[in-house]
Each structure stands twice: as structure tokens, then as C-alpha cells.
Amino acid sequence: MKIVVLLKSVPDTESKIRIAGDGTSIDGQGLKYIMNPYDEFAVEEGLRIKERLKDDTTVVVVAMGPDRVVDVLRTALAMGADDAVHVGDPAFEGGDAQANARVLAEVVRPLNADLVLGGKQGIDTDSAQTCAALAEYLDLPQALIVNELTVADDHKSVIARRRVEGGDELVAMTLPALVTAEKGLNEPRYASLPGIMKAKKKEIRKVTLADLPLKPGQVGAAGSKSKVIRYHNLPDRPAVKMIAGDAGQQAKELARLLREEAKVI
């Protein structure tokens, strides 16, 4: 089986996000980048399927972005992925989800994947669109935000489990198909030291716009259908009202405030 995993490099969760001067962008200074946490589950799932199938299954990881995304590709290689592709070109910058998916579609199409895996959303934009758009462009059935994936014995279909309001949905798809990972799909492995050393020998292929059947107007900011007006910080709440007294008095006063002042009960 050929498994393709899409990776994103995002600012780490501990980062303080600051709005840049004019308010239309985020200040990139001092940001530490990591593999998008949800993508870790995707890589891990690809590796587990490969280990379970015990055949000639390969896992290819693909990441789009500036040079720093090579770090996440290396991490995935160290975890055990077989090949890596860096999709990078200044023309791709500023693309919305669909512009990016358009590029990824042309990179992934010739790979003839049986299964395309990604994380449910990038923790920077949190928009959860790119993978679904990619599925549409590649005409793949999709199952998003999956917490369990089972490959059929004949390796020709999968059943994906995903949480919906009030229950779990089981989605059956014939391959090739696309799945995005939710936390809990698996427990991602750490890179091992032998894996890190083995990854040294693996090549990372670079793909630019010139390598793809796309025009500059179809990609990046030029190929996008929206614009940022501005970023906003969270509105300040008024200071907390601490309720005094003994436990009984506090409970009584809180109940009263919630009922009469906040009007939420």
C-alpha cells in the first residue's frame, strides 16, 4: 500500500501569539515551530498500518511551506517514514486552504496513494479545510476527525470511526481514500535514536511551482479567495468578583448572582 501523510509546521502550543504592528499579521519573531500535533497521529497511523501489513507498504510524508518545514519532515523520517517531499516556493505563500490544496493535489496525484492521511486541523489556522479540499480535488472519499481506523483484510477498503454529537459514526470507504486524524487515534511514537540515524540517509525531494501543472494565479495569495482584515486580541473581561463569607454564604451569594445579575440560570 502507498500511504501519503500531509504534515504542517506550526508555532508550538506554548508560544505567545503577538499581533504584528499593523494588525494584519502575526509577529513571527521568536516563534518555535513544531510538527502540527494532529499530524503526529497521522504519521503514527501510517507507520502502524505499514507495520501491520508487513508487505511493501511505504509511507511518504509531504509538507508545504518555507525551509523550516524540513524539520518536521526529518522528524517524520526519524519516526520511520520512508520518503519525504518538501513543497516549497515563494509563489505558494499566503495561500488559503483551497489554494494550498490545489498545490498539494498536483504533488500527491502522481504518488498514486491508496491512503492519504492528515491531521484534523492545523493548530495555527484551525480551519480544518485543506485535507477535505484535497480529497475533493483528487476525488477521494473522506472521513474527518477520525479516532479509529481499520483496514480491511483485502487492503481495499477501510472503516473510520469518528465522534459526532451523541455518538460515533462508522464511515466505510473503498481505497483510495482520505482520513484526518483526531487525538486518540493512536499514541504517536517518539523518534528513536536508531531511527534518527537511519533518517540521515533518506532524501528529501524538493518540489517547486515549476514542477507542477499550475499557473501562478492558481496558487498562494494570488489564488486565494479571501483577505485578512485584521487580527484581534481577546476582549478583556472585567476583574473577577470574589465572593466572601463561609461556604454556606458563598454558595448562597453565587447562586443569587448567577440568577439575578448574570442571568444565566
Binding site: P37, S127, A132, K183, K225, L234, V240, M242, A255
Partner: protein
């Protein structure tokens, strides 16, 4: 130029979801700002069962698409059906609820229709005829205001942001022919498995009572359950409580759990680490009960009690029981 707003209705088990009614309200605010008439789409026979309720809502018309391929949900079939409905009504703006189905369908349909899509929006408006939204990014640390420049503009809206629309009208029902290549549909929902406790989903709850590691045991969560019952609330938890094994991950609120937007969030014995805050910071009212008066949660709360939760919570339960006249 064709205009109008299409609300994509969602039905589960023959019942129109509350979220859809919220989106109708959202659509009407756009309509009032010059966005044109509001239509409501029902895709598939299951959804069509809710036609009567749907047409009573404040919409200009209800568009129903039936097709054998719509018998079970699949992104491909429903996106095709939605495309057909969209063509039929000529709307420029399409709104979804950011529910499990809404997220799935909106992303697929937007790509199919070459429309812009803003997901999980907390505010929407029109600017010069274009959709303008505010949505959380970076795990809710910051909000971004975006404007669409596309011919067709779509958005999914976070549940519990808009009040549900009510109505007693009688909108026109229009049947739409949807041509769907059934053979090309290679994925579909096989079944929906009810989860064990069938509890209301955290993401849709109006009131949440959440517990942290200070609850000290799984059994002690019964204290919160009692309060939740009286308030008609759902019980949530911090990551610390989940990691300690007191409650399952499905109850976790926070960065690696669920993002919730209730009107009231009561944090019991939760310190307020940033990872938890991002999951509930948009709650309308936040109450914190914690032994440590310096716990960061108090900086984000509207009301706070520094004290022993094991004393306070039962007393609070009693107070509400009396206030609301509910008896366990």
C-alpha cells in the same frame, strides 16, 4: 447579480438540530443587512422528514433534495446535492453549523463549488456585499477578521453563538433535482453507534460543570454530577482529571479536548492552565471554585470562590435546588 443566503440544514434521527435554528438566526442578520432572502436546504429523505418544522422557521423557502445516494451521509453525495440546491436557488452566501456534519460537508462543498469558506466563526456580517467574519485562530489565543472575495461565499458558525430562531410561518417548499453519480460515491456512513451514556455533548451544552484533579477520585465526580443534574448541565473535566483516570477523555475540555461555548462554565478545582482556558474562554459567564486564591483561573473568571470545593459544591447544589424548585 443573484443573491440570497442558503442555510444548510442538519437533521439527525428525523429531528432538525437546534444548531440549524441558530444558523437561521445568523442568516437573517445577514439578510437584514442586505444579503437577500434566506433559504433552508434539507438534503436527503432523512432531512426531508423535518420539512414541516423547517418551513415554520423564518425563511423564505425550504429546498429539499432527494436522491437514493443521499440515504446515508457521504461527503461526496451531499456536496453534489448541495451544489445542485445552490444552483437552483442562486444564493451567493451559504451558512452551516460548525457541527461534525457541518464541518465535513462545508469543507468538501466549498472546494467543489470553488467557494471561499470560513470555518467555526463566532461573528458574521456583510461588508460591501461580501461575507466578513471573526473566527478564532491559534487555539483561540487570537481572533482574525476575514473578508471573502469569492463569487460564492461559505461559512460555518460555532454552535451556541446565535439564539435559535423560532417561527410560526409557512415557507414555500421546493423540491430540487440532484444529479449524483452514485457509482462514484466510494464512502458512506455505515452506522451511528450511540455512546454509552448518551449524555448531551459538551460542545452543545449551555451549562457545564467541570472538575479538575482536586476532585481526587472518580467517585468524587458524583458531587459535580449532582450539581449538573440540578442545573440541567453537562459535566466536563480538565486534562489533569482525565490523565489521573477520574473521567474519560470524552469529557475533557481544553486544547486537546473539546472547545466549548456555554453560557455558564463552572470550573471546580481547576487551576486554569492555558491549555484548559483555550477550551472554554469564550464562555459567556465563568465561575471558578478553587482552594488556591492565586489560581490563574480566577483571572479569567467573572465570579470566584476561594474555598474547599467539597464544602461549597454540595451547598451550591442545595441552593439551586431550592431556587429552581428541582428535586433530585
Amino acid at each position: 447579480m443573484a443573491n440570497g443566503i442558503l442555510v444548510v440544514g442538519e437533521v439527525r434521527g428525523g429531528v432538525l438540530k437546534g444548531t440549524t435554528k441558530e444558523i437561521v438566526t445568523a442568516a437573517n442578520t445577514l439578510s437584514q443587512a442586505g444579503g437577500g432572502p434566506v433559504s433552508l436546504a434539507l438534503l436527503g429523505d432523512d432531512a426531508a422528514a423535518a420539512t414541516n418544522l423547517a418551513r415554520s422557521l423564518p425563511v423564505a423557502n425550504v429546498l429539499v433534495a432527494r436522491h437514493p445516494a443521499l440515504a446515508q451521509y457521504s461527503s461526496q453525495a451531499f456536496a453534489a446535492a448541495l451544489q445542485a440546491v445552490l444552483s437552483a436557488c442562486g444564493a451567493r452566501l451559504v451558512l452551516f453549523g460548525a457541527t461534525a456534519m457541518g464541518r465535513d460537508l462545508s469543507a468538501r462543498a466549498a472546494a467543489r463549488c470553488d467557494a471561499s469558506l470560513f470555518t467555526d466563526c463566532t461573528e458574521i456580517s456583510l461588508a460591501g456585499g461580501n461575507l466578513r467574519v471573526k473566527r478564532p485562530v491559534y487555539s483561540g489565543k487570537v481572533y482574525v477578521e476575514l473578508e471573502s472575495t469569492a463569487a460564492i461565499q461559505m461559512a460555518s458558525i460555532r454552535p451556541n453563538v446565535f439564539p435559535p430562531a423560532t417561527g410560526s410561518g409557512s415557507a414555500e417548499v421546493i423540491e430540487v433535482e440532484a444529479t449524483i453519480d452514485a457509482a462514484g460515491i466510494r464512502g458512506r456512513v455505515k452506522e451511528v453507534v450511540q455512546t454509552a451514556d448518551g449524555a448531551k455533548d459538551l460542545t452543545e451544552s449551555e451549562i457545564i460543570v467541570s472538575g479538575g484533579r482536586s476532585l481526587k477520585s472518580a467517585d468524587n465526580f458524583a458531587i459535580l454530577k449532582a450539581l449538573a443534574e440540578v442545573l440541567g448541565a453537562t459535566v466536563g473535566a480538565s486534562r489533569a482529571a482525565v490523565d489521573a483516570g477520574y473521567v474519560p477523555h470524552s469529557m475533557q475540555v481544553g486544547q486537546t479536548g473539546k472547545v466549548v461555548n456555554p453560557k455558564l462554565y463552572i470550573a471546580v478545582g481547576i487551576s486554569g492552565a492555558i491549555q484548559h482556558l483555550v477550551g472554554m474562554r469564550t464562555s459567556k459567564v465563568i465561575v471558578a471554585i478553587n482552594k488556591d486564591a492565586n489560581a490563574p483561573i480566577f483571572q479569567k473568571a467573572d465570579y470566584g470562590i476561594a474555598g474547599d470545593l467539597f464544602e461549597i459544591v454540595p451547598k451550591l447544589t442545595e441552593e439551586f435546588r431550592t431556587l429552581l424548585g428541582t428535586h433530585a
